[in-house]
């Protein structure tokens, strides 16, 4: 391109002046001269002696084989020369022709040089843009940060020409910078760097949040020896959140192949990459946190399912009794429970319990109470003995956890027409008579775990197939609506009394429908449990 344009100018010059002209250049020091253009075309010129060419701006005369030549360096190129002569047949003075042609050639060379620089710069930018693009792609493809970091380091170090490169990420627990990827360093030789290390470049960059270029001897530090060889470029990895910037780590480059110092351009490029790495680190952390959260939710679901499986269905006491029951924990797991036992002939046991508090701790005590109650209920048909044995079994656990259990346990004996019961602090236990009469079965003792004295018992007549035993926990009567109003015990009693002749399943359905309507979208504060028994 450059040669073509120059050739046209030289041809026009020769046509007008009949003066031979050549333009020579030396592309690199130590290389021979290259011909950029020459007129007339018929006779290729002899290459001038490089040493004879002038180094300064002044023109000189040289004697060539065909006569006197005039030679001068053409600015702005440091190593380009214009050679005119021998004198043309037109008699025009060589000096005048030189004054005419030299500025034109100079202008052309300058333009060519600028284009060359622009092309080189464009090529360099292209390389950088390509690198950023590659890194975006790497980060977009992978969730594993360590994998991405190793690939990114390889790409950066190739572009910048660094033999040693590392990505260090801040560990909040130890407050150190730890290597997640390294090039030119063996992992076992790359120790963590304390954030408060006074001499480490990485630590200083992390603290100050500003990139630094240090030369070979500057800030030599034992902790950092494996990471550098001579000059080092260290750039913070930042995460920009709505609350401001947060440093996450550093990118270090050292041991440059060219031996050249790092430039402001290198720093700018690595800073752009560091921002992308910062976003990737943050995304990885969010993904990990989200996975952990998902696992926790799955475990809670599993625990909920397990807890629900501990609760029996009414089938275990059929056909002596028709029982329907439901538990709705406030959290995934809760402290409410009920249990049903088929005892000796014609006898059915029904227990309801509310472990103080809810969540995991209450659920563990609940599971313990369920299994202990199942063992003790089989040993006796006397509710007092069963609750006393349960109290003994749970005493240590209840004492150490400072929890207690309000429990009601009743045994209906169809044959004798009798309900025997013990009640340790359970407030909502009733018998609904066939005529709609409501009898509370009050607590005879404080909740299990509050006292060490043995529980008391009581009994009352039972109208077979007519009376209903109604047990529920305070979560049901205390259920709040949006206006923070409680459902109340009476509403539950009214609903059950009105539907007392219906199947127990239907009664439970209706109470829970009422609860659902009352609470709307207000989540329950406590576990909700309801048991209805007919025998």
């Amino acid at each position: 391109m450059r040669e073509q344009a120059l050739g046209s100018v030289l041809t026009a010059f020769y046509d007008a002046t009949r003066c031979p002209a050549t333009v020579w250049t030396q592309r690199e020091v130590g290389q021979p001269l290259t011909l950029l253009g020459a007129v007339p075309h018929a006779a290729p010129p002899a290459t001038p002696d490089l040493d004879a060419l002038p180094r300064g701006p002044e023109s000189i005369s040289l004697d060539g084989p065909a006569g006197r030549l005039m030679v001068a360096r053409v600015p702005p190129a440091k190593r380009a020369w214009l050679v005119l002569g021998p004198d043309p047949t037109t008699g025009l003075p060589l000096a005048n022709l030189f004054r005419f042609l030299a500025p034109v050639v100079s202008q052309m060379l300058q333009t060519a040089l600028e284009v060359e620089h622009a092309a080189a710069e464009l090529a360099e930018r292209y390389e950088e843009i390509n690198l950023l693009y590659t890194i975006s792609e790497i980060l977009g493809r992978t969730v594993r940060l360590e994998e991405a970091a190793a690939t990114i380091l390889k790409e950066i170090s190739e572009t910048v020409g660094a033999r040693k490169a590392s990505i260090l990420v801040h560990d909040r627990v130890t407050d150190t910078l730890q290597v997640v990827a390294a090039l030119g360093i063996r992992p076992e030789d790359a120790p963590p760097i304390a954030v408060d290390d006074p001499c480490s470049v990485s630590a200083q960059v992390f603290r100050s949040r500003h990139a630094t270029i240090v030369d070979g001897a500057e800030m030599a530090c034992d902790a950092e020896t494996p990471y550098r060889n001579g000059a080092m470029l260290s750039v913070p990895i930042m995460w920009t959140s709505p609350d401001g910037g947060e440093p996450l780590g550093v990118v270090n480059l050292s041991d440059r192949r060219s031996g050249q110092p790092f430039s402001a351009g290198d720093q700018k490029l690595v800073a752009a990459i560091a921002t992308q790495i910062g976003t990737a680190i943050q995304n990885t952390r969010l993904v990990r946190a989200s996975l952990a959260q998902q696992r926790l939710v799955q475990e809670m679901h599993l625990a909920h399912d397990l807890q629900m499986k501990l609760l029996p269905t009414g089938a275990v006491v059929a056909p002596d009794a028709e029982v329907s029951a439901r538990v709705m924990p406030a959290d995934s797991v809760g402290g409410d429970f009920y249990n049903l036992f088929r005892l000796s002939l014609n006898s059915t046991g029904a227990m309801i319990g509310d472990v103080s508090g809810h969540g995991y701790q209450a659920a563990l005590i609940m599971a313990l109470a369920m299994s202990a109650a199942a063992i003790h209920a089989q040993a006796s048909t006397d509710p007092t003995e069963t609750l006393a044995a349960l109290q003994t079994s749970l005493r240590d656990e209840l004492a150490t956890t400072e929890m207690f259990i309000s429990a009601f346990y009743g045994v209906v004996d169809r044959r004798l027409g009798e309900l025997r019961y013990a009640n340790t602090g359970h407030p909502h236990a009733f018998v609904i008579g066939g005529d709609g009469d409501i009898q509370r079965l009050p607590a005879l003792d404080p909740p299990l775990g509050m006292v060490t004295t043995a529980p008391h018992g009581s009994s009352r007549p039972w109208a077979t197939n007519r009376d209903l035993l109604l047990l529920f926990t305070d979560g049901v009567s205390d259920a709040r609506n949006r206006a923070d109003a409680r459902l109340g015990e009476q509403a539950v009693l009214d609903m059950v009394t009105t539907n007392r002749t219906r199947p127990t399943t239907e009664i439970v359905e209706r109470v829970f429908a009422m609860l659902s309507q009352h609470m709307g979208d207000v989540p329950p504060r406590d576990d909700l449990t309801l048991v209805v028994l007919r025998s």
């Binding site: 103080s356 602090g425 406590d526």
Partner: protein
């Protein structure tokens, strides 16, 4: 929801303002235990401004009562509203605490 401690001659009176529930029971417990540690032995908890106590709150009252008794002291309650009185009766917790109708009667009872 707050707990205010004042000393009336030899009795530490704790005013509970709001509900006593799972979320604040530990605060009440710690405040009372700190006073017990300092040598106080007579405590009166006034529920005049309390509408609701959940099962965890009841648990803390029982636990405090035990700890105070172990140190030779006593915990009494005052000003339970009708709902709370019923709750204490229904759960037989009224057998574990001495409950006064007013703050003055509570203080006199020590």
């Amino acid at each position: 929801m707050s707990f205010t401690m004042t000393k009336h001659v030899t009795v530490v009176v704790v005013d509970v303002d709001g509900q006593l529930i799972v979320g604040n029971r530990q605060e009440l417990k710690q405040k009372v235990l700190d006073e017990l540690e300092k040598g106080e032995r007579k405590f009166l908890i006034d529920f005049a401004r309390t509408g609701y106590i959940d099962s965890s709150g009841l648990g803390v009252l029982v636990s405090l009562s035990k700890k105070i008794r172990e140190q030779g002291g006593e915990l009494r309650l005052a000003n339970l509203n009708d709902d709370l009185k019923t709750l204490f009766e229904l759960t037989k917790l009224d057998t574990l605490f001495q409950i006064a109708d007013s703050r003055e009667r509570g203080l006199e009872s020590f």
